[in-house]
């Protein structure tokens, strides 16, 4: 009898483990079925999707362009992946309601990579098996760099909303919406120099992360040009990312007026807290990785007051495009969209613009679409949330003016 109980408990545990793992994998598919009504119905129509779904489908010929998305919807960088997934679904839905791309509807499927290169490649393979024709992803730099090797081999058009490492789009089939890391580092140095924010700057960066060390290198070069002195540059790694007392102490001892943080917000929230505890109060300046710091539950936003960050998108900006996007996003998912959401939203519209320019159709192979899109990308000009008149060069880099925001009263204020 006792043994039975033990067995039963063990089974329950295993079962909960399976649901724990299984959930992340099945979620995108489930979401797809529930949110992308028309698109999903097209695919599921021939199978047993349900009568109402089949009846809703407007395009009788069932032409769909399959766009895949990859990003972390679980794990430490999940905030970015969730935002991208939500915003891309929102954009796909809008585009479909307006008639799709050249008459073909978008079918969008998003796979989780947990911000892990190996899982991203697995996700890519899953999407390829599903019949993906265009890839909107991946969200974070390291996985993107791994996936671009695959997409280049397959000659599949790839547009990353936020993969900002140089190598993330090193081949001619890949483009991006956001700035590359070097551009962020150089632009930050330029911004600090031009606005005379500080002359003595300390840097705390994550040497185990391509994103962080990439920005740091270009920042160092840019700082020299601007006449900014880097008084201390201290690193940490993914395995020692809780205690920053040493790095802060060195910045303090060196008399830094500004601390540049080219890192993600989780570590930054700890740095702000520890700086406050030790009574060190310089200016803090970060890049897009700091976006999300205000969303940290229970975080004392007073600590983040006056923190500046380079970002292409501020949800409080008053232009009509931003406002309508923000309200649509809030209505659909709750919560204010961050810049990753904006990047992804733009990415879908960029795919639409390039797709229409290139005249792609649903029956074209991924490789044919890629060839046509590559040329079209350098010819289009897109007005998006993250910049007016965005253009691209053949190496995949966007051209648009950088923006910065400052945290005032617990909210981003466009500067």
């Amino acid at each position: 009898m006792k043994k039975l109980l033990v067995m039963a408990l063990a089974v329950t545990m295993t079962a909960s483990m399976l649901t724990g793992c299984g959930n992340s994998a099945s979620q995108p598919a489930a979401d797809n079925a529930s949110s992308g009504d028309e698109a999903a119905a097209d695919a599921a129509g021939d199978e047993a999707a349900g009568d109402d779904a089949a009846a809703e489908a407007p395009a009788a010929d069932g032409a769909v362009i399959k766009i895949g998305g990859i990003g972390p919807v679980t794990g430490g960088a999940a905030v970015y992946g969730q935002a991208v997934k939500n915003a891309a679904e929102l954009a796909a839905k809008e585009i479909n309601e307006a008639g799709g791309i050249n008459g073909a509807l978008i079918e969008f499927q998003f796979q989780d990579d947990e911000h892990d290169a190996e899982k991203a490649v697995n996700a890519y393979n899953t999407l390829k098996d599903w019949g993906m024709q265009i890839l909107m992803g991946t969200v974070t730099s390291n996985p993107c760099t791994a996936v671009v090797e695959k997409s280049q081999a397959d000659n599949l058009f790839q547009l990353t909303p936020s993969g900002s490492a140089i190598k993330s789009i090193q081949y001619d089939n890949a483009f991006r919406v956001c700035f590359s890391d070097p551009n962020q580092g150089a632009a930050s140095a330029q911004y600090i120099g031009e606005h005379s924010l500080a002359t003595k700057v300390a840097v705390i960066y994550d040497s185990s992360d391509v994103y962080s060390s990439g920005i740091y290198e270009k920042f160092a070069a840019g700082a020299k040009e601007q006449g900014i002195e880097i008084v201390s540059a201290e690193a940490f790694t993914a395995d020692s990312n809780t205690d920053f007392s040493v790095q802060l102490q060195k910045a303090k001892d060196a008399g830094a007026e500004l601390v540049f943080l080219p890192i993600y917000y989780t570590e930054a929230s700890l740095i702000l807290k520890q700086a406050d505890t030790m009574g060190f109060d310089p200016l803090f300046f970060g890049c897009d990785g700091l976006d999300g710091i205000l969303a940290v539950e229970n975080f004392d936003t007073a600590l983040a007051e006056e923190v500046m960050l380079l970002t292409p998108f501020a949800a409080d900006a008053e232009d009509e495009k931003t406002q309508s996007f923000v309200s649509a996003y809030e209505a659909a998912y709750g919560g204010t969209p961050n810049q990753f959401a904006a990047d992804a939203y733009d990415a879908m519209y960029i795919i639409k613009a390039a797709g229409e320019k290139a005249g792609i159709t649903a029956d074209m192979s991924a490789s044919d679409i890629c060839e046509a899109m590559k040329t079209a990308m350098t010819e289009i000009t897109v007005d998006g949330l993250t910049g007016e008149g965005m253009t691209w060069t053949a190496d995949g880099e966007p051209s648009k003016a950088p923006k910065a925001v400052k945290i005032v009263d617990g909210a981003y204020k466009a500067m």
Binding site: V79, S245, V246, Q249, G279
Partner: protein, 298 residues
Amino acid sequence: MVDVMSFVSYLLNGISLGSVYAIIALGYTMVYGIAKMLNFAHGDVIMVGGYIVFVFVSTLGLPPLLGIFVAMILCTVLGVTIERVAYRPLRMASSPLAVLITAIGVSYLLQNLALLIFGANTKSFTSVVAIPPLKLADGQLTISGETMVTILVGIIVMVCLTLFVNKTKAGQAMLAVSEDKGAAQLMGINVNGTIALTFAIGSALAAVAGVLLCSAYPSLTPYTGAMPGIKAFVAAVFGGIGSIPGAMIGGILLGVIEIFGKAYISSQMADAIVFGVLIVVLLVKPTGILGRNIQEKV
């Protein structure tokens, strides 16, 4: 002068970090000493403790002490359940690896459950310590309230555990089980009960450690316990696994070495230095600083 001040400041920071490792290491060392197994899920029980206090104190607004008490009870239940369901059936397994692998499995299970329940978003933990930081030398040196409380709690726990093990009947039973399970059973000691008690104490300690860890480094994610758990395991080995004062000394030394390594050698190499020192110590003294030399009698 600045150099001296920095040195003292680094030392204090090292002790602060080390005291967190120490209190986690106490749980590791205790379970290892008695059950002779590495409970890799210990770090994740700490994370669960952190979340429970977060929910009760930050979200529901209970007084911190009550929150900690609830967390200790719930973590105890969790620890005993894990032991009963996942470890006990495997204790007699032919390979001791089986239970080790299970422990890793439980660790991932807890992380994934936390991910499922609380999501991946970082939560900022409100410190339960209300003591203002101590400012010395015109504010050039700061000792945070968390550091003082952590060290104090660490010492109290260490003394209580030592007394418990040496002076009570249950403690003596633990010692007997750790010496020789089979013989202890023959002497009428309930081995399973004793090991369950060990897990109960270890898990309650994990809850306390979780609160102190999150108070000192207030960012709470499902992976919060993983790295400190591994570092604390190293600290336990460093101090001599199975030895209660050893865990305390090992933890504090590890923290101090880590901070000094960062400050004076290289901030990127901190972990390499820590583990390098560990290798050297183990080469010189394979049982750790306070570990007992066990002589095999033929």
